[in-house]
Amino acid sequence: MYYVKVQRESLDIPSHLAELWNDNPRVGAVVSFVGLMRDINAGEQVTAMTLEHYPGMTEKALQRIVDEAGKRWDLEDIRVVHRVGELQPTDPIVLVAVASSHRGEAFRACEFVIDYLKTQAPFWKKERTADGERWVEARHSDHNAEARWKA
């Protein structure tokens, strides 16, 4: 079982990274992705964001994605932590970190996990702008990114 977590608290990225290699001298490569809240989206200034999710299903979806990554590549460990609730610009939203003996596997697996998370994990972003609140629309580019792994 790889570590997946949904939480309201801010992400403790240093601890999660160190957990991937502490006491495991087989780890030669750790690749991590941090997704952060930007202050501009679709051309408009965004002042804050609320992240909603589907408790229960979210954790299952994340676990399924990391399990699939663990089957496709030879990995030592994976960690996924995703925030929900209120966020401000420059706040980290998600951490995906993968440890492996060699870097190629870690790069592939890390990108695979975030690509699938973007289209398969039930999170929804609502942005606050000067015009009020709006739900973020799904991006075609995310579906194209996911589709690459099916080839």
Partner: protein, 81 residues
């Protein structure tokens, strides 16, 4: 009976977070029943591909079967990460 849940934009559009209904044979039949409520329901469930479904917290397709006691969720395309 089955439990229905609505999330994000869809929950706000429909003005409801969850409800209990008699079971349907599958997701497609359930959507047909919801659409038949008319008004905002017909609108929300009218255009294909805008609403995703999950049965017992697993992504579902229109043909995914539904059984008594199941939890069925509807929501817009996801935007996390």
């Amino acid at each position: 009976m089955i439990r229905l849940r609505y999330f994000a934009h869809l929950r706000e559009q429909l003005g409801i977070g969850s409800e209990e209904l008699e079971a349907a044979a599958n997701v497609d039949e359930l959507i047909g029943r919801l659409r038949a409520r008319g008004g905002k329901w017909a609108e929300a469930f009218g255009s294909e591909g805008q609403v995703l479904a999950a049965v017992n917290q697993e992504m579902a397709t229109p043909r995914t079967p539904i059984r008594d006691g199941d939890e069925v969720a509807f929501f817009p395309p996801v935007t996390g990460g």
